[in-house]
Symmetry: C2
Subunit: 406 residues, 2 copies
């Protein structure tokens, strides 16, 4: 008997019919002899509807209240599924974040999980119940409701799987797995049977929206096998795990892109210690995620500092760094929202030279100018002009022969 | 500086515009130098929508899950009001039932309040915040969400007012006070400036829907002055309190009716001790409220036992008593759903003879047959055929001269 955590996203619980579909899948898993913990998102569109209400109520909603408001979406889906399961003759019990409890810090609207208590859930599982947990939400030390930010339900599911020492965490979504690239952009995209945590992490960070990066980080940290599946089909699926078979042969496993990017350049900064801290500390304090950071070698004691943030946070970021930019004696700063990031990801890059070179050659052949470059052991990312996103993705997918199976 | 609890019902928070109206009223009260605790219902229609979803999910929804589902309605309105108040520059904080906490028993969907913790709320008030509490909900000893049943938000408000030792509990609703009878039925209905707890209690129990009987019981028990007001007008209002001025002169203060009645008659029961217990104990165990009970004197060792329940619960009631009826050796039982209860209420009845006689004469004059009679110190109730409800109300309102001010 295995302990299985199953997470269903918003499109999988969009209406009563689809929730009934989820109920049947859950019951099948239970009847196969497994203990089942289900994690649900809100009905698709519901969180956005609630966010709209919050924005109608105030231009800048109080975040404590905002979290308590938008967490109701998951409360509705988990109770409806539990009602349905009980109605179908299977004992089920819903758990809200504060009931598990899922303890988080106090960063409302983007809280981080500190701990997940397993005892109450294990007790229900021992008594033969199906447990249905609200994704996306937790509670802080003062009993306030917190939410984990967009896609937080994936993180909830993996955190629960880790705490419960589950055998697998199934993430049901509206696609049937992880692809070499976005099939909407590149028809040659191919579904991967397996992918490592690190690759998935880089792909998620680089813009692939199948799994939230935080959930993959957690899965890696606690070695939770994550299976990405379609909730509308029993075919396919991608296993995200520590090691993939035949890995030695793989060099590149995917090409991703992220259009939600804005490039901020702080121009003509005096090159002295503490500059980067002065700029980035206030951003971190305001929970603004900085993605790529590039600082050129200084010329005559001055340098330029370029970084990217989510386009949605670009304005807030510039507001926050305005003072710091003056204080460090920089000439000015510029914001370019007309950019995208294209990344090539592969576990095999570590031991294979020439991947970066091939990327640059490919983009050059397509006459795409590279504005920023950033590399990790298993990823090369390039910032390019927004309009070249698709072209760059298709050219790189071709260049690395990703359409054919490993 | 007074501590004021204000409760706004579903029509008062039906949309963003009306919530903004509530926000302005709350701010005005605060700016007059008062500490304000606001209790809200869900947007009108929302609780019904959620109940519909629950019924779509299962014919007989699991009540623990049902409560967690339908409690989301209040969670939405309190957080929206708190967001609005904060956006308008007034510090405000919402409290869910489990956050206060409002502790209840475990009778899901009709839980009773056991205690209300005041410390967390008082701390916020001391710091100058407006506190916005979700009506209708609490938590049981196992941290499950419970709801108080229909109209439970009134009870929440009064319970909070009692716990906080508030100076007054304002109940804002869509009518501007308590009337001598339902203005929709009798155009001569007159708004009362004051009414005693006991009168209000009898009126609420007898079908007047302005306040939930439980909330009036609580108000009486803790001597909380309750002010029933319109949320759409600053005029009018009825103060419900221990004593009304000039009370000596009053005999009758109102006529009420309740169409949600069904009459159940257990026929030809052997008249021996324990019969009533055998019939009513199982109903109580199943949380079915029995209203009027009449047992005739026995003839030849047999009697008939008649009682009324909510029409909505009539079928469940008959199912529950079927076994007991057989066991006590009764011949059979009959259910009549074609009845209504009409009541005349007045604090002065205690010391004035002839009120009951006047009621019977009035109904006789209108050729209305009285099927059951029940009296208390300040109330006379008659069960009549459903179709005579309006006629009986108007005739009695006239007979006691209620259209003219006290």
């Amino acid at each position: 008997m295995a302990l299985i955590v199953q997470k269903y996203g918003g499109t999988s619980v969009a209406n009563m019919e689809r929730i009934a579909n989820v109920a049947r899948k859950v019951i099948r898993t239970k009847e196969e002899g497994n203990s089942v913990v289900v994690v649900l998102s809100a009905m698709s569109g519901e969180t956005d509807r609630l966010i709209q209400l919050a924005r109608q109520a105030a231009d800048v909603p109080d975040l404590r209240e905002y979290d308590a408001l938008i967490s109701t979406g998951e409360q509705v889906t988990i109770t409806l599924l539990a009602i349905m399961l009980n109605g179908m003759g299977h004992k089920a019990k819903s758990f809200l974040g504060f009931q598990v409890p899922v303890s988080t810090d106090q960063a409302f609207s983007k809280a981080r999980i500190l701990s997940v208590e397993k005892d109450a859930i294990l007790k229900e599982l021992d008594e033969g119940r199906i447990v249905v947990v609200a994704g996306f939400q937790g509670k802080d030390a003062d009993n306030n409701i917190t939410t984990l930010g967009r896609g937080g339900s994936d993180t909830s599911a993996v955190a629960l799987a880790a705490a419960l020492n589950a055998d697998v965490c199934d993430i049901y979504t509206d696609v049937d797995g992880v692809y070499t690239t976005d099939p909407n952009v590149c028809a040659k995209a191919r579904r991967l049977d397996q992918i490592t945590y690190d690759e998935m992490l880089e792909m998620a960070r680089a813009g692939a929206k199948v799994l939230q990066p935080r959930s993959v980080e957690l899965a890696k940290k606690y070695n939770v096998p994550v299976y990405v599946k379609s909730s509308f089909s029993d075919e396919g699926g991608t296993l995200v795990t520590k090691e993939t078979k035949g890995m030695e042969k793989e060099i590149v496993s995917g090409v991703t892109y992220d259009r939600d990017q804005a490039k901020i350049t702080v121009i003509h900064v005096p090159d002295r210690p503490g500059i980067a801290a002065a700029i980035f500390a206030p951003l971190a304090e305001n929970n603004i995620m900085v993605d790529m950071i590039i600082q050129n070698s200084s010329i005559h004691g001055f340098t330029d500092l370029t970084f990217t943030v989510s386009r949605k946070e670009a304005r807030e970021a510039t507001r926050i760094i305005a003072d710091a930019v003056r204080e460090v004696g920089a000439e000015k700063f510029e914001v370019d929202e007309n950019v995208a990031k294209v990344s090539v990801i592969g576990n095999g890059m570590i031991s294979h030279a020439g991947v970066a070179a091939k990327i640059f050659q490919t983009l050059f052949r397509e006459q795409i100018n590279i504005q920023m470059i950033s590399t990790s052991e298993i990823k090369v990312s390039c910032v390019v002009e927004l309009k070249y996103t698709e072209l760059a993705v298709m050219a790189l997918h071709d260049a690395f022969g990703l359409e054919s199976a490993r």
